[in-house]
């Protein structure tokens, strides 16, 4: 993972931000014990969730369910796994993260802000006129966003393109991509799945945010995607199944994915849509609706 210039030092600073020491090349939880790291990442995921709820409350519209379900994965990527430089967002050697399910923008924005790409105060501009935090991620507006997304089904292809570029240039960066389980109903996902296997893109690690819900209800009822693991295996992928709301399992799966050569890896991450906010959990109504002020309060209490 490259050179490490600085050890991580956890210095809680204000209500929801965890400060970190990051004077150079990268950010890594090097001197932590695994247990300590997991604890830290759990805390980060919670902080991200708090941001999500607050942002959406402030915005008055947006997608809480699919943002919350992915918070643990995104926390692990941005606070442990990815080799990135918030102060040099276009650093060519950086690892990439593509949020294919672009409607979960809040989880990405929260992670970027917490990681130091911009000030957390800017999170309150979500979805507002002239904000860099567009309703769906816009790479032209916000540094740290690797790809503009929002139209579902396109991010895996884009990730493949990035990974091909790495192969051509013999670069070591890895590409992570988060896909929704409703999203895999898009045929382009399977075009990209086939191509990633064909081109042996072992530098691609995909996560399926396997929360069982899409807008119109359960994926099972709307358009059944089962048996989902079999599909990815049949498309030539290394498949790992985990609980995607379990930080340790996410960490381990990513490590395992790195060891596989000649194949891309799909981490099927069973998650709970709305995870962390009791009244949102597993409720399709919270796919694309913002919480009201009282609801925000209630959620934040639960996320303490």
């Amino acid at each position: 993972m490259g050179k490490v210039l600085s050890p991580y030092k956890a210095k809680p600073k204000h209500e929801i931000s965890v400060n970190y020491f990051n004077e150079g090349d990268e950010f890594i939880l090097l001197f932590m014990e695994k247990a300590e790291k997991v604890k830290f990442l759990k805390e980060k995921a919670k902080v991200i969730r708090r941001h999500i709820v607050k942002m959406l409350g402030e915005a008055g519209s947006g997608h809480p369910g699919g943002s919350l379900s992915a918070a643990d994965i995104v926390a692990v990527l941005y606070f442990d796994v990815m080799n990135i430089r918030p102060d040099d967002p276009h650093w060519p050697e950086r690892d990439r993260f593509v949020l294919s399910k672009g409607h979960a923008a809040p989880v990405l924005y929260a992670a970027l802000a917490e990681r130091g790409y911009f000030d957390v105060s800017e999170l309150s501009t979500l979805r507002k006129f002239k904000s860099r935090l567009q309703g769906h991620p816009d790479m032209k507006k916000l540094p740290g966003v690797e790809m503009s997304t929002g139209s579902l089904g396109q991010g895996l292809s884009v990730a493949n393109g990035m990974a091909l570029a790495a192969k051509i240039d013999n670069k070591k960066f890895r590409v992570y991509v988060l896909i929704g389980d409703g999203e895999i109903q898009e045929g382009q996902i399977w075009e990209a799945a086939m191509a990633a296997a064909h081109y042996k893109l072992d530098n691609v690690t995909a996560f399926l945010d396997y929360n069982g819900l899409q807008i119109d209800g359960c994926t099972k009822d709307v358009m059944c995607i089962e048996p989902v693991a079999d599909k990815w295996i049949a498309f030539g992928w290394n498949v790992i199944e985990i609980d995607g709301n379990d930080i340790e399992q996410v960490l381990n799966a990513i490590e395992d994915a790195k060891k596989v050569s000649g194949k891309p890896t799909m981490i099927i991450a069973k998650t709970i849509k709305g995870k962390g906010v009791s009244y949102m959990e597993n409720n399709p109504d919270w796919h694309g609706k913002a919480p009201k002020a009282e609801e925000v309060e209630k959620a934040l209490e639960e996320l303490l």
């Binding site: 915005a59 008055g60 519209s61 947006g62 672009g102 979805r127 507002k128 006129f129 002239k130 904000s131 567009q134 309703g135 769906h136 816009d138 503009s148 997304t149 929002g150 139209s151 579902l152 089904g153 409703g182 999203e183 109903q185 898009e186 045929g187 899409q214 807008i215 119109d216 994926t219 709307v222 358009m223």
Partner: protein, 316 residues
Amino acid sequence: MDKKIATREAYGKVLVEIGETNKDVVVLDADLSKSTKTYEFSCKFPERFFNMGVAEANMIATAAGLATAGKVPFCSTFAVFATGRAFDQIRNSVAYPKLNVKIAATHAGVTVGEDGGSHQSIEDIALIRALPGFTVFVPADAIETREAIKAALEINGPVYIRLGKLAVPVIHDSDFKFVPGKALELRDGSDVAIIATGLMVSLALEAADILLKDNIKATVLDVHTIKPLDVETIVSVAIKTGAVVTAEEHNVIGGLGSAVAEALCEHNPVPLKRIGIQDVFGESGKPVELLKHFGLTAEDIVNAVYEVLKKKSKNM
């Protein structure tokens, strides 16, 4: 004009009505039935409703298959995906074989609001208008939507209906007569013609009111059918007024403005100013903020009128 209803709401209602009377009507959606308002149909006629999941291309071509067997499918999703994500399917499996498929796309234009540019279709009219044999309806209000959907059902061939998310003023009486392909003259005036479509029609009426204070009499045309275009009426008001402003919630490239420019140039060239999105992508914001930002207000229409009037006087 007090009451405001989104055209997608009107669509949802009339869909249930025609579903009742015409058993061949089937509805397909791509995981957005609550937003596109096909949900009510899906509850009433579950055996004739097919949720295709997030798979717009498959939705359109499946509809084509249903149409070959005598069904009258209405397909709905957001306009940006309905047209762009399934364009080749619309082209080769619907338009080319002239199949009886209706595409009722909601969330057109920048009034989608906060979701931002990726979700704001500004090019759907351009796309569908370029396809031979398609009828393109862009209703201005809830009542026109009702009529457009019923008219679509009568047409044996592909129809695109462009609908909005935002609640917009009801400008028509319920007994108003909708004739497909015939532009509606809502105001008669000899100084300038404002030719509008969709939610810009009510703003065109506002603009006409403002202009009247300055003693400028504007003809206002409501072009609910972009294709086939009512060239005759458009040319006649151009002849009458000698100056035209078009207004649409769409890129000025490829939509109503282009269609009118084509008609004028071929039949009676007069100065034209096109109000619309000036060839940029949309962004997040409140619908009213965005209408203002993109120059889609009554004031923008008024200013455009003054511009064309200046050119007209020079021409004379």
